[in-house]
């Protein structure tokens, strides 16, 4: 497992395991929130813990499976109370090989859930409710949360309630009555530090020596890898990666990109693989857009910049056209095109996301008269003009 070298994670793992197993052994209810930025391993730790528990308590196998089973809900899918309860009922049915009826109403489903909780409690089966994207469940009236937590308190059930969220203040979002039924246990997951990242790199990238790959090849590969870790340029790359976003999932994404770049003939990971991986993941989309613009589109952007510099609060495309005309009149450029052509070019840069309408979605006006604004900064614009291979010098002067 990727996470076994990760000390903090181990600690959190054991804590979570303690919480869940105490519910199994002591037949009590528990609730906990797992919080942390996206990709730091919350769900991975949870899966680990549940797997371990399944191995640990196989002796109390009842008719329909193990001692611990989980019900998973996701805030993106089930934030609506009706669909959440329906999903709970469906998963309960699947677990216990019952027939699930799609026609059941909200009340039926909630009665069913409470009844099942009671039965599971009597049979000493622990139900683990896992709620991904927990903060999305706290929108609205929080009926589901209240129903679950209340059921856990009042009914003789053995349940663990685990919420997983990327919002660090997810527990502040709970209503008063829900909050009072919730034990304020929070486990905080943090992104790994630099040395932990190196340990992870080693663990993920090293080839296992005792697998079906030839032993010599694996040793040579690992040796080359370790020598690269101490290379200064490699450390610089890892530094820039850490500045960007050092969570475990991002690291896996970065390594995937590096490994897919590997030259199979060389059959070794080289420094260039990592370099191309980091540059392909750290892109500057606005710069790319600017480099792709045609010269007329650049003219329009420069005109808009000049209007903004003159501190015109809101200007429309027709004002941009006037500025364009005045530039042509004063500098006699060769790029003077008709209004329709300019309007179409303007629509292109609208599509690409370099400019946008300043009045939101509401107004029913034609494109020429709606207020517009630039979505790139002046510095980005001048940088993009410099990087453009065909930009006329006059434009760079005007944008300065």
């Amino acid at each position: 497992m990727v996470l076994q070298n990760y000390d903090v994670i181990l600690f959190l793992c054991s804590k979570l395991k303690f919480i869940v197993s105490s519910s199994v052994t002591e037949a009590c209810n528990n609730s906990v929130l797992l919080l942390g930025p996206r990709g730091t391993g919350k769900v991975a730790v949870l899966e680990l813990v549940l797997e371990d528990l399944l191995l640990e308590y196989p002796d109390m196998i009842t008719l329909s499976g193990g001692v611990v089973f989980q019900i998973r809900l996701n805030g993106l899918l089930h934030s609506d109370d009706n669909s959440a309860l329906k999903e709970i009922a469906r998963q309960l049915c699947v677990e216990h090989q019952l027939v699930f009826s799609k026609m059941a109403s909200f009340d039926d489903n909630s009665e069913f859930m409470i009844a099942m909780l009671r039965e599971c409690g009597l049979a000493h089966k622990t139900v683990v409710f896992v709620l991904d994207e927990f903060d999305l469940f706290t929108q609205g009236k929080q009926r589901l949360l209240y129903a679950l937590l209340d059921a856990m308190q009042s009914v003789t059930s053995q349940a663990v309630f685990i919420g997983v969220s990327c919002r660090l203040d997810a527990d502040q979002l709970l209503e008063k009555r829900v909050k009072s039924r919730f034990s304020h246990r929070k486990l905080l997951f943090l992104p790994p530090s630099e040395e932990e990242i190196y340990r992870l790199l080693d663990h993920v990238l090293s080839l296992p020596v005792d697998s079906n790959l030839p032993h010599d090849y694996a040793m040579e590969f690992n040796a080359k890898l370790h020598s690269m870790f101490s290379d200064e340029r490699f450390r610089q790359i890892i530094d820039s990666f850490m500045n960007f976003s050092p969570t475990v999932r991002h690291l896996v994404k970065f390594l995937f990109r590096a490994v897919s770049d590997m030259d199979l003939k060389l059959s070794n990971l080289s420094f260039e693989n990592f370099k191309s991986a980091i540059s392909s993941l750290q892109r500057q989309p606005k710069m790319e857009c600017l480099r792709d613009c045609s010269i007329l589109e650049l003219y329009i952007l420069v005109c808009m910049k000049r209007l903004e510099v003159k501190e015109q609060n809101s200007y429309s495309f027709s004002a941009v056209m006037k500025e364009y005309k005045s530039i042509h009149d004063s500098f006699q450029t060769s790029d003077y095109y008709s209004q329709d052509v300019c309007l179409r070019a303007f629509e292109h840069i609208l599509q690409r996301g370099l400019v946008c309408f300043a009045d939101g979605r509401g107004r029913i006006q034609s494109t020429e008269f709606r207020p517009v604004k630039l979505l790139i900064s002046f510095a980005e614009l001048s940088q993009g003009l410099k990087a453009h291979h065909l930009c006329p010098a006059i434009l760079q002067k005007l944008a300065a």
Binding site: R90, V252, S260, S280, R283, V341, H348, G353, L390
Partner: protein, 553 residues
């Protein structure tokens, strides 16, 4: 993209491809190839039992060299895609392919899957314009279900909610992966004549993702799609997103682990030249044509579709003085052709984006074609002042009144339209304004113009309409009329009921838009969005002196 498209048509006519469910079931004549389907000729309709083979790209798989040669200038992107998709059965993280329009993203991906011979599910968010249609399209393809008349064009399952979609999707994908593994085992034992599939993986392709941002439910659908791989947690599934806007335009308050970005830059001039020259009957002639026109037109736009659209009529102009279209031009001839084309270039530059109406396409044109006059963004032709669509006379007058109502400020109505209907010509404003006042007035008028067309209530529109139709009756009074007697009767009552109908017609045709209601008055306000050129044309066709009534500097 054009080159690839034409190449496929040529290829398809030569060979007899294998019929898969992905192709349209036309058991008779050859079907026209589209991006997904393949040209098929008449063969026996194979009633094959549905299997994952239906998820392959129809037709024979192609070589990598063929793929690379079909898409000039895209070698780095194709190589990167191949690296990310990986060798057989390699799991992958989601990929986000982005780049400007017509840069070959969809084309390359589909051809790549044809080359790799791996099953995929393709849905475009343009044809699947709502979440339900998108979900059902994906599920239909995964169940090899085709909508036809026998099942009443219905989907295999009704799926509206994201939670149902994820459940059904998981079921279907697990089923397909299992059947792929079984097929592999079976094919190892028996010699198969059918096409074999490579790998155990299934790929989901979502195209035109930028359109999802405009949907009502985009705040839930976009995070759902981007989080789909972690929700499904099936390693044999690969997700690919295609969009023409970069990934930073998709950021929202709901987070997700970003997919791996893959950028398709717009073609530079050399690539454009290579692509445009393909499939031309006389490449050398076309290449000399491109020498002349490519650079100036690239200053306006670098999009391949727009350039090819403007080059085809221009090339016809270029070849006019030639008698034999197959000759290879030498330097002399090139210079002659260039000087012949020169005056047309500037004309065409200003009409780069013009959409030509059907009548002018294809047929030999003696003068520049008629434009479609409906929207102001389409260029107008200097030669023709004719309207090329028909409107009834009362509708024309209504359009003119709407234009005047939007254009003139309401306070000046009295001076423009006096009670007798004649143009008052602003007699009150005859005194000569001072220099400063003139400058101020000009600035105000400019500002009024730049603010755009104003809105007006229905009563004002009707008042102006009555005014100018009475003017029209007077001016037409001497002429003999046999036409529609409705408006020349001198009675306005039958005219009024028609007016309201005409107004709703004009609204539907987007000549007039309905604005919001004023909370005090409670009546809706309208706004005219026709350009001045169109209004002039309409006025000319009914011989109405529009210039006298328009508020000008």
């Amino acid at each position: 993209m054009l080159g690839w498209f034409l190449q496929k048509r040529k290829m398809g006519k030569d060979e007899v491809p294998l019929i898969t469910r992905r192709t349209t079931r036309s058991s008779s004549a050859t079907a026209i190839s589209t991006k997904n389907n393949v040209v098929e000729s008449t063969t026996s309709t194979n009633i094959c039992s549905p299997s994952p083979i239906d998820l392959l790209y129809g037709g024979e798989p192609i070589d990598l060299d063929v793929l690379l040669s079909n898409f000039p200038g895209r070698h780095p992107q194709i190589r990167e895609l191949l690296q990310i998709l990986g060798p057989l059965n390699a799991p992958m993280l989601p990929v986000f392919v982005y780049g400007g329009p017509s840069t070959g993203k969809t084309g390359i991906l589909l051809q790549l899957f044809r080359h790799l011979n791996r099953p995929f599910v393709y849905s475009s968010c343009r044809t699947c314009y709502s979440p339900r249609i998108l979900f059902e399209s994906v599920l239909n393809q995964l169940s090899y279900h085709q909508k036809n008349s026998t099942n009443g064009y219905s989907s295999v399952k009704r799926c509206e909610k994201p939670s149902d979609f994820v459940n059904f999707l998981r079921e279907a994908l697990v089923g397909i992966v299992k059947s792929l593994k079984e097929n592999r085992r079976k094919s190892k034992s028996s010699k198969k004549l059918e096409r074999s599939i490579d790998g155990n993986m299934v790929y989901l392709i979502f195209d035109k993702l930028e359109l999802v941002k405009d949907w009502d439910k985009s705040s839930t659908i976009l995070p759902l799609l981007f989080n789909l791989d972690s929700m499904l947690n099936i390693p044999e599934v690969g997700l690919i997103f295609i969009s023409s806007t970069p990934p930073d335009t998709f950021y929202s308050s709901m987070g997700y682990i970003e997919p791996i970005p893959l950028y398709f830059p717009t073609y530079n001039e050399d690539d454009l030249r290579q692509i445009l020259v393909r499939n031309q009957a006389n490449p050398k002639l076309y290449s000399s044509f491109l020498d002349v026109v490519l650079r100036p037109f690239c200053r306006i736009t670098r999009r391949l579709d727009e350039l090819s659209a403007v080059f085809s009529p221009l090339f016809i102009e270029y070849c006019k003085p030639l008698n034999d279209l197959a000759i290879v031009p030498n330097e002399d001839l090139k210079r002659k052709l260039f000087s012949n084309l020169q005056p047309h270039i500037s004309l065409f530059l200003n009409e780069t984006f013009r959409v030509l109406s059907q009548s002018s396409l294809g047929a030999e044109r003696t003068k520049d074609g008629e434009p479609r006059g409906s929207k102001s963004k389409v260029g107008t032709c200097e030669d023709s002042d004719e309207l090329d669509f028909h409107m009834s006379t009362s509708a024309k007058y209504l359009l003119i009144s709407a234009f005047l109502a939007s254009r003139n400020p309401a306070t000046l109505d009295a001076s423009f339209f006096d009670s007798r209907g004649g143009s008052a010509d602003g007699r009150k404003r005859r005194r000569k304004p001072s220099e400063m006042a003139k400058g101020q007035k000009e600035a105000e008028e400019q500002e009024l113009l730049s603010k755009g067309p104003g809105s007006f209530p229905l009563e004002r529109l009707l008042a102006i309409f009555q005014c100018i139709t009475s003017v029209a009756e007077d001016s037409l009074g001497e002429e003999v009329q046999e036409e529609d007697s409705l408006e020349v009767e001198g009675q306005n009552n039958p005219l009024m009921s028609d007016v309201l109908l005409q107004l709703s017609t004009l609204c539907n045709a987007n000549f007039i838009v309905k604005g919001g209601t004023c909370p005090l008055e409670g009546s809706t306000r309208y706004r005219s969005v026709v350009s001045e050129d169109l209004a002039l044309k309409v006025a000319k066709s009914v011989k109405f002196p529009l210039a006298k009534y328009v508020y000008r500097r």
